[in-house]
């Protein structure tokens, strides 16, 4: 079936079977590789994208449910004020290690800061709980979100 959606501000029509996860439409069909496959069961958060501005796990979001929706991926984060601040903070603090989960971490962090511009450590933990990092970069993720909050406040 043909599905129309807006990806990173651009209208796209993709051909996909119903039941195809958005993750695989993005990676297999649209050839955008910034969104990662980690578990396939919404347990790790590596595949996080924004659906109408809200973080969702693209591996458990089905293509027929996003007809007409606005999808945003890591590739467009530098054009988003909050996204750019998070990316800057991530570089300042060298948050990444292997880096494979970090697209998803950043997409969730932007979701958090969009709702709550100045989250406490506890609020960060509560919101970011679903994004696993096997390298355990968690304390830098926490510090990175707080640094991004400062950058945005300045």
């Amino acid at each position: 079936m043909a599905i129309s959606l807006k990806l990173n501000g651009k209208d796209q029509t993709v051909e996909a079977e119903p039941g195809t996860p958005l993750l695989w439409v993005i990676r297999d069909e649209l050839k955008m590789t910034g969104t990662k496959f980690g578990c396939g069961v919404a347990s790790c958060g590596a595949c996080t994208v924004h659906l109408n501005g809200e973080p969702v796990r693209s591996c458990q979001t089905y293509i027929e449910d996003v007809e007409g929706a606005e999808i945003t991926t890591i590739e467009a984060m530098s054009e988003n004020e909050i996204g750019a601040a998070v990316q800057q903070a991530w570089i300042e603090l060298d948050v990444v290690q292997c880096g494979y989960c970090q697209s998803g971490q950043i997409m969730s962090a932007v979701g958090l800061l969009s709702e709550n511009p100045k989250p406490s450590a506890q609020e960060i933990d509560d919101y970011m709980w679903g994004n696993a990092c096997r390298c355990a970069t968690y304390q830098r993720i926490r510090a990175g979100i707080q640094r991004a909050s400062e950058i945005l406040e300045a």
């Binding site: 069961v41 060298d94 696993a132």
Partner: protein, 726 residues
């Protein structure tokens, strides 16, 4: 300041195509009158436009060698970090071998910086000297009057960018022994402000991991595997997959270990794999359960060990323990653990125009898959190329003695007409159920204390599944029957324990065993440090003071271990935790580095433990990239704590019980509070940082729990043995 490491080799330069200067150490250590560039070890390449590229021989799984080895070249060439780039080295064990592994190229054992520190500095220094020499000739000046700084050569009234002299420098012989910078002149080595070179790309989605490789016209392959290890495929019925979009074919692998399912897309391959049906021959399959593995290990601990590891007079040690005023005794059990790197295993294989094979892989030990692929396709070693790309974590999993996933890709590719590249992709279920695990181990320890609380005897039995036996490494890794990786961290501990006996019994393997971040230290550090804590408590002596009493020697092993122990205790305000908190401490040497950690918790095992803070002190010699060292300690602590809190792989009748992350729950951001890392100043040669942060973390947590509650967790994971976490 002296640098305690060996230097090797002569240096030689050669011109490569396009006036590129390549500098490195000749593999045979000889200085030939002439030589082709392919015989050299290019650690640094300089283009005629002045662009400098470090050629990094270690793969990047997050531990930082791409930044680290590049730092060494930049330091000696007087460059800033934004004047240099890096590429991963091709697979070539003659020139890019790990000097601590012999004739093999590979990353592991926390050796990347240890084996590269002098090699890369020498390469950078030789490049600098040759450029200065070329400039001196052009200007009719004395090279000693010239300097190279920030990419510009200046002196004797001249100044020009280094790119102007690359062509001339490429014609020169490299100096045999280029002068290295004195450590007092270092601007980058030891500089905490040097940033990772891969941060930006990993934060904006442009970093290319193996999973992101898309070769023209590639197919995806996934493997249908049996539930039980060592079952084999007899027949496949793919009719259920017909009609699935993109499904191409399903065929039994040549070794019958599984069925390769080919599709145009990853999603198509996933669906098709679920839709086919395979008949398996289970007559030779594994049928044991983890309960049986544990029972076998526990029985072995109750028997006389097979190997007397330290040649002790066991009867005398036992008599000393039996005759002691107090005997402290504990039996420990450690389950199987999966590595679960964030990026599921995968690689892409294709045929080259000349009939060779090219593998794209986040490749940890290139030499092993390189040889395996040559053998599978019956082609010379030289016709195989490996392009190493970023790896999304490993923790040991991407390096197996059998090159397991690369061989799978090669076998799948061999089923095709080779006209299309094949990208082999694993799912998370494949990863957790693949059968390569940190082996299960048990320890039984009896410690005798005299009336003043001193240790008078230490009898220590280890039983478990050897990692090295049955692998190609057996010949050199096993000595007198003992796999050192089973006992490392016990018999070779810097603690000066009198009257000690260490025994080992191998138990049967029910799965493939594999090194897992810190290898044997993952269980030995836990046992040593919990026993020291129990003995200190029995003796009524502070745990830090008790340990220091066995580190009084003036050898570096004792002074460095005592040093980090005291530093961590001081920085954690040891003994003065807030009233509602409890502290535990552990210290361990692994991979030639010394790490002490204090874990501070609140709560109780019944109501829930919260890990509030971890304070770490590390002595890893010269700290080349201090911030990366800190990051590795932070990550190593999380890795050690997370698995020991709640993870294990279990088997029921030979079938792995865990499928995906909900069954093998990763450490989450809410599980662990602040981590503070302190680096011991040192002039010693750099040692490992990727693994040494892991071993002390879980025993420090266990000791904190014991301080809070009197509960001694001796079987792992903790949440299956009386501890809840909040």
């Amino acid at each position: 300041m002296t640098i305690n490491t060996s230097r090797r080799g002569f240096l030689k330069s050669a011109a490569a195509a396009g006036a590129v200067l390549v500098v490195g150490v000749r593999p045979d250590g000889a200085l030939a009158a002439s030589g082709s560039p392919s015989m050299l070890t290019p650690f640094v390449q300089i283009g005629s436009d002045g662009s400098v590229t470090a050629i990094v021989k270690h793969f990047e799984m997050g531990q930082g060698p791409s930044t680290g080895l590049t730092t060494l070249i930049a330091e000696e060439m007087g460059l800033t970090m934004d004047q240099i780039g890096y590429d991963f080295a091709p697979s070539n064990p003659q020139v890019y071998n790990n000097t601590l592994f012999g004739p093999m190229q590979g990353t592991g054992g926390s050796t990347a910086m240890a084996n590269s520190f002098m090699q890369y500095r020498q390469a950078g220094a030789a490049a600098r000297e040759m450029l200065l020499q070329a400039a001196a000739q052009a200007w009719g000046a004395d090279a000693s009057a010239l300097t190279l700084q920030d990419g510009v050569i200046s002196g004797a009234g001249h100044s020009a960018p280094l790119g102007e002299f690359v062509e001339a420098a490429a014609q020169l012989d490299a100096p045999a022994d280029p002068p290295l910078k004195d450590p007092s002149e270092f601007r980058l080595i030891g500089n905490p402000d040097v940033r990772r070179l891969d941060s930006a790309a990993k934060g904006n989605g442009t970093a290319m991991f193996a999973m992101d490789i898309e070769r023209p016209n590639q197919m995806i392959a996934m493997i249908a595997r049996p539930e039980q290890q060592r079952a084999t495929a007899v027949s496949v019925d793919a009719s259920g997959a017909e009609g699935i979009k993109g499904f191409i074919d399903a065929q039994i692998l040549p070794n019958a270990a599984g069925v390769a399912v080919f599709a145009e897309t990853t999603w198509g391959a996933m669906q098709a794999r679920d839709a086919i049906s395979v008949e398996w021959d289970t007559s030779a399959a594994e049928t044991r359960s983890s309960d049986e593995i544990e029972a076998e290990i526990r029985a072995a601990l109750d028997a006389e060990p097979t190997y007397n590891v330290n040649g002790a007079d066991v009867a005398a040690v036992r008599a000393a323990v039996d005759g002691a005023d107090t005997v402290v005794e504990e039996t420990f059990y450690f389950p199987l653990l999966a590595h679960a790197p964030m990026e599921p295993l995968n690689c892409t294989i294709e045929e080259t125009a000349d009939g060779g094979i090219l593998l794209h892989d986040g490749c940890q030990f290139p030499t092993i898959p390189h040889g395996a692929i040559a053998e599978i396709f019956g082609i010379p070693f030289e016709k195989v190329q490996i392009k190493t790309v970023l790896a999304g974590g490993s923790f040991g999993r991407r390096a197996t003695p059998q090159a397991d996933y690369q061989v799978e890709a090669a076998l799948a590719f061999s089923l095709t007409d080779r006209s299309r590249p094949v990208h082999l992709v694993w799912s998370r279920e494949d990863d957790l159920r693949s059968g390569y695990y940190r082996p299960a181990f048990g320890h039984k320890v009896r410690v005798g204390l005299n009336a003043d609380g001193s240790i008078v005897g230490w009898e220590h039995r280890v039983a478990g599944q050897s990692i090295m036996k049955g692998t190609p490494f057996e010949a050199f890794a096993i000595q007198n029957g003992v796999d050192h990786s089973s006992v490392e961290g016990t018999v070779d501990s810097p603690y000066q324990i009198p009257t000690a006996a260490f025994g080992l019994t191998d138990t049967e393997k029910a799965t493939s065993t594999l090194w897992w971040r810190a290898v044997g230290h993952t269980h030995t550090a836990y046992v040593m440090e919990v026993m020291m804590d129990m003995a200190a408590k029995a003796a009524g002596i502070d745990p830090v003071d008790f340990r220091l009493a066995y580190l009084t020697g003036d050898g570096p092993d004792q002074t460095r271990k005592a040093g980090v122990l005291k530093l961590a205790a001081e920085k954690a305000n040891w003994g003065n935790a807030p009233e509602v908190r409890s502290q535990g401490i552990a210290v361990h040497k692994s991979f030639n580095s010394y790490v002490a950690e204090v874990v501070e918790i609140s709560g109780t095992p019944e109501d829930g433990i919260k890990i509030e803070k971890v304070t770490c002190a590390v002595d890893c010699g010269i700290a080349v990239n201090p911030d990366i060292i800190k990051a590795q300690m932070e990550g190593g602590i999380g890795y050690g704590i997370g698995h020991n809190m709640r993870d294990q792989i279990t088997l029921t009748a030979g079938v792995v019980d865990q499928y995906n992350f909900p069954d093998y729950e990763p450490l989450r951001i809410s599980d662990i509070g602040e981590i503070e890392v302190h680096i011991m100043p040192s002039a010693e040669a750099p040692t490992g940082v990727g693994e040494p942060g892991t071993p002390p973390a879980a025993p420090a947590l266990a000791n904190a729990i014991a301080a809070a509650s009197d509960l001694r967790v001796a079987s792992l994971p903790m949440d299956e043995n009386g501890v809840s976490f909040v």
